[in-house]
């Protein structure tokens, strides 16, 4: 289902993805600048699969996808995107800051934002500790710092609130709201309805790999 917005930052049309025996789609959606879209639904409904396909991490069997005006596929990585996935993807024997330095160098980006970002996520005191010693909340903060490292136009988040206590939950919601007010678009897969309401996101309910009902305005 496409709302037909011309200024869409993310535009997905008729996406179908197969993962083993599971099939999701066809689904269509778009997200405009500064907008938040939430994929909600029970476990196994295909939220994460759709999210990973949107990032080009999984191969889609049909449909087209554009982010920031550029096509995305399993051969074409997206540009201007930050992601927080359901796995940390750090070398846990290295410190938080060194992991971010590696992320910058791996993508040929300047490292100037690392210090301010670690300050912003509240990890400056622990930046030299190995990631293996971080708590779940600290790891999540470091993941968000990495997602924000390249000042993305779109943030794609998979179950961002899982494992967070109330304080960290509030902090994450505030951070994302601030980014959104700066014009950053959000695509979130979650079953945390309170978090969706807090972000003021459009809601798409998924079940068995398909959208249920119409998109809410």
């Amino acid at each position: 289902m496409d709302d037909g917005t011309d200024s869409a930052i993310v535009r997905a049309t008729g996406i179908v993805v197969e993962r083993g025996s599971f099939r999701a789609g066809p689904v269509s959606f778009s997200i405009s600048e500064g907008e938040a879209l939430a994929l909600v639904g029970p476990n196994g409904s295909g939220k994460s699969t759709l999210l990973l396909t949107t990032l080009g991490l999984l191969r889609r069997v049909a449909g087209s996808l554009e982010i920031n005006g550029r096509p995305v596929s399993h051969r074409e990585p997206p540009r201007g995107v930050g992601a927080l996935l359901s796995w940390p993807g750090f070398y846990d024997w290295l410190s938080g800051s060194r992991n971010l330095i590696l992320a910058c160098e791996g993508n040929r980006m300047a490292q100037g934002r690392i210090g301010p970002l670690l300050d912003e996520v509240g990890l400056s005191a622990a930046e030299h500790r190995p990631v293996s010693t971080y708590s779940t909340g600290m790891t999540k903060r470091l993941e968000l710092a990495r997602a924000l490292l390249f000042d993305p136009a779109v943030l794609i988040l998979d179950e961002p609130t899982s494992g967070l206590d109330d304080g960290a939950w509030e902090w994450l919601a505030d951070s994302l709201e601030a980014r959104r007010s700066d014009g950053c678009s959000l695509l979130v897969a979650t079953h945390d309805h309170e978090f969706v309401e807090r972000l003021g996101a459009r809601n798409i309910r998924m079940n068995s790999g398909k959208f249920e009902g119409d998109l809410l305005p």
Partner: protein
């Protein structure tokens, strides 16, 4: 009388889910393929390298089993980790203990699985030997038979079986001591490589023979100077001296394992927690 609370006793230690959980962990494919290739080579070897004009089907089975057991130093360590160490590394052991299964029972189950899989792998190697032997009779036609013509002797088969039992004991114990997968495998394979390096030096420096006792593997080292085709990489210890060294090593390692195992934290690593 049925239990009112807690988990029911496990009906079969080799139930399919348990076997799948144990067998299909990291490294199983390496072990499975190695077992099959080594067993297959055992069936092929007499015709290919020893000049036998053909080998019997049962002989190929025996040779496959013997080759697989002899090469257990290579393929058994990952299986030892899957049976003895994996539950600990993933934190499964902690959960099962919290459900009421005793740590000693879990440990015994791990050893039961290890020996069960080790012998099953040896039989798989035997069948791979039959495949290799039958195909060899097609590619290099000779005297085809069904019996034991061309098989290794009972002494060699017995020695290989003993080696398999001891390798399982040593590998399982080292996994109990070291806990995590990489350290266990590096320690097991690394000490084997060091033994190889030492034996290569011994050929040129026989005075260093005493250093052989420093390797736990020397008692079951498959290459012996007395019977090997080349003195290089062969152990110069007699079977008696090697057996004594092996016994001392087993006792020492079991003592360390007995001390270390209760101390081993049965919680998942930080990486597992994050994943």
């Amino acid at each position: 009388m049925p239990q009112k609370h807690g988990v029911q006793p496990i009906e079969s230690w080799l139930a399919r889910p348990r076997l799948e959980a144990t067998l299909l962990g990291p490294g199983w494919r390496f072990s499975a393929l190695t077992v099959m290739i080594v067993g297959g080579l055992g069936g092929i070897w007499p015709v290919a390298a020893l000049g036998a004009s053909g080998s019997g089907v049962f002989a190929a089975f025996v040779n496959g089993c013997t080759a697989t057991a002899t090469a257990s130093l290579i393929w058994l360590p990952p299986i030892a980790f899957l049976c003895i160490g994996r539950d600990t590394e993933l934190g499964v052991r902690a959960i099962e203990i919290s459900l009421g299964l005793g740590p000693r029972g879990l440990q015994a189950r791990g050893w039961w699985n290890l020996y069960g899989l080790a012998f099953a792998a040896m039989l798989v190697g035997g069948f791979a030997g039959v495949v290799g032997g039958v195909v060899t009779n097609v590619s290099a036609p000779g005297r085809f038979s069904v019996g034991l013509v061309g098989s290794v002797g009972a002494a060699q088969s017995g020695a290989a079986l003993s080696a398999l039992i001891v390798v399982a004991l040593l590998c399982g114990s080292l996994v109990e001591i070291l806990g995590d997968r990489r350290s266990s495998l590096i320690a097991i394979w690394g000490t084997q490589l060091l033994t190889l390096a030492l034996l290569s030096v011994l050929y040129f420096a026989p005075t260093l023979a005493f250093a052989q006792y420093l390797s736990p593997w020397i008692g079951i080292w498959p290459l012996r100077a007395s019977s090997s085709m080349s003195p290089l990489f062969s152990s110069q210890l007699s079977y008696g001296a090697g057996g004594v060294a092996l016994a001392i090593w087993i006792v020492a390692i079991r003592i360390v394992a007995a001390i270390m195992t209760p101390r081993r934290v049965s919680l998942p690593s930080s990486k597992e927690r994050q994943e």
